[in-house]
Amino acid sequence: MFTRKPRSVTSNGQGNGIAMPNVHRRTFLKYAGMGTAILGVGSLAGCSSDDDDSAGVNFGSGDTSVLNYAFALEQLEAAFYIQVLTTPYAGISDVERDFFTDIRNHEIAHREFFRKALGGSAIQDLAVDFSTIDFTSRDKVLAVAKTFEDLGVAAYNGAGQFIDKADYLVLAGKIVSVEARHAALIRDLISNGTFASDADAQGLDFVKSPTEVFAAAGVYIKTPININTLPK
């Protein structure tokens, strides 16, 4: 399946006579990518047309796939809060409107950041489906907001380990704590004091894989997406 790369051995240049194999991980990434591509063609050739795993928006591979994953979630969150403020529930207080405006703007900032950072590798704008959400109900809106924010925290917490480039991990860290702040506030608006009441016995927050995240969020995403290239 894999073509073995001839191993080169070079001196490490320290003058101590210790030779260091030239194990460069980018090379292996490249080879792994080639292997995946070949596997992909092979598995597609063996697929019937109604079992086509290449259908839907493709997130790309490696760090691009993780950034596109975040981009997709930020698109979803931004669209939700835009709708909340376009059709606010009856009796929304000025304070709540201000909080929702802040959160909407944060999610738009995240969304546009990922769009720019990804450049030509960015996935398309996803169409959303909020038909199951009753935007006239404060309780329903807050419940969905809680779902989205907790899910966002869980998604970033789960994706961190799959990020290769350090700068991207730092950026994910800068964003996830803001999502956690949103989650805490939304929970406090539902029931004051529940900001972190679902941390586990070790005091740890949620963590979810992309598959688990899309199982929960998929109902709100109309555009067919393909998460097969995301880390499992």
Binding site: I18, L169, G173, R181, A196, G203
Partner: protein
């Protein structure tokens, strides 16, 4: 045994070794497994040095981060435990309840980190002796508004401290994930404490939000906690104005910044007896 010999042995143990190394993370996992094969003769220090050079970090760095985190968790855990044990300090059951929730998390984090350090072959640093007056005459356990200020400072610092160390843990996915899961809990704590201070009877802070606006802060003593939070450029991309209506305030609120270890220890050091 020189490194070439070691790699010969590794190749015998795992002929596909070089095909397996598709990421640094996988590399470290593979080498852990290989370590079991080679356990008969201690893997030379040179090997650790080579991995550090080839793959980024040595385990000592990870242990250092865990002990650094432990120091902050000791600080928080003792602070909250002292607060909730103090009769008459809290004005409401809800406020005492919030502190109890946080106290339980911080105590759990201390135990978790001690276990992780021991499990990784290290020794947890002992708990420092704390002085919650901050060397400035603060009296958090007799003055509720001061209690909230110190708590807010600790939580916002904790968030920034964990954030600053994520990349050191990158080669250890399990440890990284645990650190991220603590980090976001600290952020939830911070958000709630800011919300409590915003709504504090008699001392409302209507400008204080669960998120950090610019480097704004109403208490000069804890201003170092917010150093650099007014940054609005992320990965060379300017966030202010990135879309219509996105102000500098939005841009700085949307991204929490990290603090260096030196900055964090300067803040924590105010509360640690020498």
């Amino acid at each position: 045994m020189n490194l070439q010999n070691i790699f010969s042995v590794i190749e015998k143990a795992d002929p596909e070794i070089y095909q397996r190394l598709d990421t640094r993370r996988d590399a470290m996992k593979q080498f852990r497994d290989i370590g079991r094969v080679l356990a008969l003769s201690a893997i030379p220090m040179a090997l650790g040095g080579m991995f550090k050079k080839a793959y980024g970090r040595a385990p000592a760095d990870v242990l250092g981060v865990l002990n650094y985190a432990l120091k902050l968790e000791y600080l928080e855990a003792e602070f909250y435990a002292t607060a909730i044990a103090k009769p008459g300090l809290f004005p409401t059951d809800a406020s005492r309840g919030a502190f109890t929730t946080i106290a339980n998390h911080e105590a759990a984090h201390v135990e978790l980190l001690k276990g992780a350090i021991t499990g990784a072959g290290g020794t947890p640093d002992p708990k420092p002796t704390f002085d919650f007056s901050g060397g400035k005459g603060l009296d958090p356990f007799n003055d509720y508004p001061t209690l909230l200020i110190v708590a807010q400072a600790f939580e916002d610092t904790g968030v920034r401290a964990y954030k600053g160390k994520a990349t050191v843990l990158q080669e250890n996915p399990d440890v990284l994930t645990v650190a991220l899961r603590i980090h976001s809990v600290e952020a939830r704590h911070a958000a709630h404490l800011r919300y409590m201070r915003r709504n504090l009877p008699g001392a409302l802070q209507p400008a204080l939000k669960p998120w950090i606006t610019n480097a704004a802060n109403d208490v000069p003593l804890i201003q170092p906690v917010y150093a650099g939070e007014d940054n609005d450029v992320q990965a060379t991309i300017t966030i202010t104005g990135i879309a219509a209506d996105i102000t500098k305030e939005d841009a700085t609120e949307a991204f929490d910044e990290f603090l260096t270890e030196e900055q964090v220890l300067a803040i924590a050091g105010m509360f640690i007896k020498p």
